[in-house]
Point group: D3
Chain length 294, copies 6
Amino acid sequence: MYYHDKRLQYPVTVSEPDPAFARALQQAIGGVEGEIRVCMQYFFQAWGNRAPTTKYRDMLLHTATEEIGHIEMLATAVALNLEKAPSHLQEEGVKDSIVGAVMGGENPRHQIEGVIHKNLLSAGMAAMPMDSDGVPFNMSHIYASGNVAADMYCNVAAESTGRVLAVRLFNMAHDEGMKKMLHYMIARDTMHQQQWLAVIEELGAETGNLPIPNSFPQSQEDNENNYNFYATAADGSVPEGRWTNGPSIDGRGEFTVFQNKPLGEEPVLGAARPESGAQAAQIGEAPQTLDSNR
Amino acid sequence: MYYHDKRLQYPVTVSEPDPAFARALQQAIGGVEGEIRVCMQYFFQAWGNRAPTTKYRDMLLHTATEEIGHIEMLATAVALNLEKAPSHLQEEGVKDSIVGAVMGGENPRHQIEGVIHKNLLSAGMAAMPMDSDGVPFNMSHIYASGNVAADMYCNVAAESTGRVLAVRLFNMAHDEGMKKMLHYMIARDTMHQQQWLAVIEELGAETGNLPIPNSFPQSQEDNENNYNFYATAADGSVPEGRWTNGPSIDGRGEFTVFQNKPLGEEPVLGAARPESGAQAAQIGEAPQTLDSNR
Amino acid sequence: MYYHDKRLQYPVTVSEPDPAFARALQQAIGGVEGEIRVCMQYFFQAWGNRAPTTKYRDMLLHTATEEIGHIEMLATAVALNLEKAPSHLQEEGVKDSIVGAVMGGENPRHQIEGVIHKNLLSAGMAAMPMDSDGVPFNMSHIYASGNVAADMYCNVAAESTGRVLAVRLFNMAHDEGMKKMLHYMIARDTMHQQQWLAVIEELGAETGNLPIPNSFPQSQEDNENNYNFYATAADGSVPEGRWTNGPSIDGRGEFTVFQNKPLGEEPVLGAARPESGAQAAQIGEAPQTLDSNR
Amino acid sequence: MYYHDKRLQYPVTVSEPDPAFARALQQAIGGVEGEIRVCMQYFFQAWGNRAPTTKYRDMLLHTATEEIGHIEMLATAVALNLEKAPSHLQEEGVKDSIVGAVMGGENPRHQIEGVIHKNLLSAGMAAMPMDSDGVPFNMSHIYASGNVAADMYCNVAAESTGRVLAVRLFNMAHDEGMKKMLHYMIARDTMHQQQWLAVIEELGAETGNLPIPNSFPQSQEDNENNYNFYATAADGSVPEGRWTNGPSIDGRGEFTVFQNKPLGEEPVLGAARPESGAQAAQIGEAPQTLDSNR
Amino acid sequence: MYYHDKRLQYPVTVSEPDPAFARALQQAIGGVEGEIRVCMQYFFQAWGNRAPTTKYRDMLLHTATEEIGHIEMLATAVALNLEKAPSHLQEEGVKDSIVGAVMGGENPRHQIEGVIHKNLLSAGMAAMPMDSDGVPFNMSHIYASGNVAADMYCNVAAESTGRVLAVRLFNMAHDEGMKKMLHYMIARDTMHQQQWLAVIEELGAETGNLPIPNSFPQSQEDNENNYNFYATAADGSVPEGRWTNGPSIDGRGEFTVFQNKPLGEEPVLGAARPESGAQAAQIGEAPQTLDSNR
Amino acid sequence: MYYHDKRLQYPVTVSEPDPAFARALQQAIGGVEGEIRVCMQYFFQAWGNRAPTTKYRDMLLHTATEEIGHIEMLATAVALNLEKAPSHLQEEGVKDSIVGAVMGGENPRHQIEGVIHKNLLSAGMAAMPMDSDGVPFNMSHIYASGNVAADMYCNVAAESTGRVLAVRLFNMAHDEGMKKMLHYMIARDTMHQQQWLAVIEELGAETGNLPIPNSFPQSQEDNENNYNFYATAADGSVPEGRWTNGPSIDGRGEFTVFQNKPLGEEPVLGAARPESGAQAAQIGEAPQTLDSNR
């Protein structure tokens, strides 16, 4: 179960509100590489964790809980960027702000509306659980496979794309408060990349974990096709690299190259079945007519 | 551009059609860990690849093209499992099959319908680009971030969850043809896990790539919060592990532990603005009435 | 069954077409608080209504039918705002309009495209069943629970957020025709808020309907935890209000405060099962190797 | 920011695992009336709350935080129902369980697969953020309008449909542990219905809050159409009720009945524009031909 | 605007309720080939119709209005199939029905739950706007392009897949009332296929309408690649047919065959830009380190 | 299975990059009328094709394979429009480009961000599988019904809306390279419209294929309601046209007009069942109270 503190994890201030930047920040809230995703991903991985110990469940709960605070920071940042926000976050003098103009029916409406529609119309100048194009977050992006190593790579992937996004937002930001908030979040993403890779190392690193799942007897997979790069260029060219020769990353094989070609035959499904709703020609019959039916 | 061969990548045969297994196979077609995902992910990573050379674009095209053939194999397998399919894939004797009964209005309808509804009703006994619960694949799962290391971890994640799924399907299968098809696909997933990790190794391994993106000056991130594990338990307990002490995975720091606490203040957004559609109490006004308006 | 009249429910005119406002209006068509939602929600509540009388089914049909006309008005308003529309709604002189410029390849393209892409590209200057960010309406927002009181609160919620949106659009509008249309729709939302609350009153108001569903024997719920506010602040602070003391709204209890703490234990799911696709470490085994398999 | 305790909010035990019931419980996790929805809804309402005081922001945080613990309880319940779970939640003797049969390739596979596919295939016998049909939760269901009264009715609606669902699950449950867990959750839903209505009462009840938003001058809405029930039956019949006569719920008007008829005209959009991608007949031109183009 | 009659378009009776058939019927309500789709598609095509006359707008309104009644019939059929419904649709004797067992906690629960979960849990034994797998209808399926000929082909497509579905449901049905309802709906689909093709004929048939849009000067398209079939087989084989030789369907060209090959070059996007969040290797730089930053 | 050539199907060049046009092109990639849709639609139709011969499966594979190359061309065009791209596609001088300004934190940020957010933030200046409003493509748009004639009309519809879109993009384009690429794609759409209609002609044209499916005995449909136009106007007016009289398009009937009226009765579902989660009033009982329960 959970507790809260109404103070923020880290200071969030905005000197010069920027509605367009608010929209960009939405990507870090409800984008597929955003904070709702990692928060919920770590929670579901924790809650479904099956292992001889509860160690990883426990550790995941620590970080999932941390991530709620990140969503909170970003939601606060979006709200502040949608208004004229003076020091101490108290509102004053909004009349002359650019967003005030939008809500009050004044002039520079057109270019703003394209940027922040739904945050104004639907949420009244607040953050929403959606990305920078207004697409709501879809929970199918919560990867929790029941395999801890697969999950850790999913987490590294999430924190890598997450830090890439945070860096882009940092480069785009012009407000000092926003840059400071993001320099903190970038740091946390650095740690979280490390953290999930540390689990993989603890579990035996690449040689101990690969191929994932490592509980399947590898002798039962096709041993002629598990360490060869498939070249599919029509002209037979091959992109040479670490993946075309030398020992495999797990140390269990040698990389080779296979010029791809069909190993199977053309599939033949045969005629459609009567009463299956196909056309008569698919069944091999003449069309039904009003006459033929009588 | 692209060419096709109407023969299959690898043989796909079904001796004993099993509609329930057909539905399970759908997860490998249109599930988030399925083949449409990796196919399209590698294509979009290739088409958007920016680098001094076209080497990685090229290599990605090889494997993306290979994956189309995997979707094709699985779609064929679904179709075959939805019917009574004799040898050489030619249809005969379907009248007495279990699916024939469904389409023809005969008896064991109830338990089957729960399993394979949409494949029959909407596709006429064929595969669809959806998962095992009938949820259509959503292209937001195509991760292509513009950062090659982040993308490679996304690919390892995809092939790891993909091989986990293939192993589960293998364990669930009872038809020899299906087991053989899956033992091939499991092998290809083994190779693809290796392949993307080989790219990371070629690019400098963990020390050379982390933190991702490695083009951002790390001095600009918060250097007090980039290698410390945040402990968020209310009782102050800490899940000790590789992530709480010792050198970081990238070799640039030392893991430590931070008992989490708020570093910011309670955010205060202040009163809502007039004309913003809020309640009068939020604005600090009395409610508008019919009288007050006149 | 249904009939139509090709005339509009209420006049819809636009003197000065405004493509950005067209996009904003889309929120009232296909937003989650828009008219497609209430229309379909009332229809499905009506069609599935189970009660000793058909009275509520009947009443819901009246209002659902009314709402079709609201979608129609808004769709017309969007179309008119996407063109240069003279009096009597007949088209003339479009050559010099701002949208004409977009479709004809002339100058002020950039700022417009950001606002109204899909309405032009996909619909040819017409309304679409999507929100102001171009996200298509998803029918999961049709709440029809089979419980008439729950449904009525869903309807009050829908008409409340709907009227909030209509007011925001009214404040944003500058065209007299649009203001007039919206002042009508705001009025209908007023009535519909009243109407659903009138049903609740007729059914016994809060004391007669709560807790919903009121057909479940309340003695079977946990009577130590049904009228106490859970305080979850780590510092033990409590937000005092109507909900922390005094009689409950349904008159069946007294509000109290509970400082939240765990009442259960740490859950232990135990080791993963062999053949479940987990990592060997989760199962408590050594990893499978090529050697061990042979 | 947030803290966690690894113990559960309330005991969750399962004596007789039931995979079908696990799937039903998914509706309470990721259904539109489930716990992810209320948790995230209260968080976003809190984080975007604009008011003269932070009182409601604060209170919303308390309950949002409580709801995380409810998702956790349900996720644990799903995991336990997917296995043979002896006392103290420790796993043993799974070999002979019905789910063990599924994962191990044994017999009663067919009827089970229809019920719990994705929980096994994709999550390895764990909960997922989806509903009972496997549809992932979509964050567009987080209603946070920026209007506190509208939000409170959204919350009452959510807790009403939520308690209806919990009652149905309680009636469907046969395991004592599950019944106990649900009798607790039903009680919390009772309180939460009360709690949001208490806010409405504190803010002035129906007469003080309606119509929502109450900050819009009601004199500016169409005062001939804001308290009349629109009858749309072709035969002119009217469903009499509390909504057709007597004082309105807000005390500002009298209910009347209006036999609906068009108040506007047939809209005429006129011919399509050249270069708009319409058919020639829509533009009033002859079709373009290869000849005419030369 | 619109009127309703509370009687159904056509009789809907169910002698022997069948919950599995109810679920199948959902495909005809909220499936992509279902009635919500055609209803809303015709409405949006009507409301956005631009043409010299309102004739097609008018005609579309007639049929869109008819389709509301079809959704209503199907929703009623679903509700009736979810219960024990005696003659005259009045409920009695539900205690011993199969669905009664589900809701009341009795025995044959397992196999039913897999079939009808959400209709019971979420809607209380009623229809929902979703397909037979419980996936909610998504309004992106409303095709209304602004080109009347394109729209008519979209409509033919919708009514063709719709009639295919209705035929499959007819073949699956065993209740006489359901067969009668479906034999009516199949007939209406027959008419609607005719109706949209009649529009195309009235507008000039294939030679008068093709290529769509026929308002684009065909001389401006690539006249070497507009009537040739692209053969993409790696072995150079060609699937001969009506499309490989002879006059084109629009009478403006001759079909030929082109052995596909690249007409362009390998695209080279070049190095990534500094500050774009790419890896250093993509930019052509050395990785940033803690040292290099200082 | 499949092969690739790293060269493009047709030249793609951009002299003057235009980020807004890049966003518009996204509609042709991931819009419902875009290239991912037709590509995947033809593949799934091919893979599931049931017929006495593999002729149509084969032909569909040719064109599906061609379409991959179209997605590739468009993805390349989007990437080029997001940067300053000199001749031969090699990058130089990006510093002064408009997009460079965006990524580098310079001035004209606001108007650009509204247009291309996610392509920059999430993909690093590359194409994504989404439409021009950033909505990801949803695979439910892959229509493959198992009926070849229905599928062909779906394909004609897809290529008709596709060519309408391509024409709009052509009219909007100002770069010669983009116009040339589009004039090629428009030509291919012309051919593909022809191609699918050629299949219909080969199968017997309208008289031989209608009504679809033509394998259902037409005598079993309601022969009084299969060739009559339903007029639903409340005033009894009829939109006369080819569809109101004369022979039907399939030559099997005569068009007539039916003034629509209810042929069924008001449906009566009766009281809700106890324990179904309905309100007591729906069941016909008094509400449960704390007292009554004890």
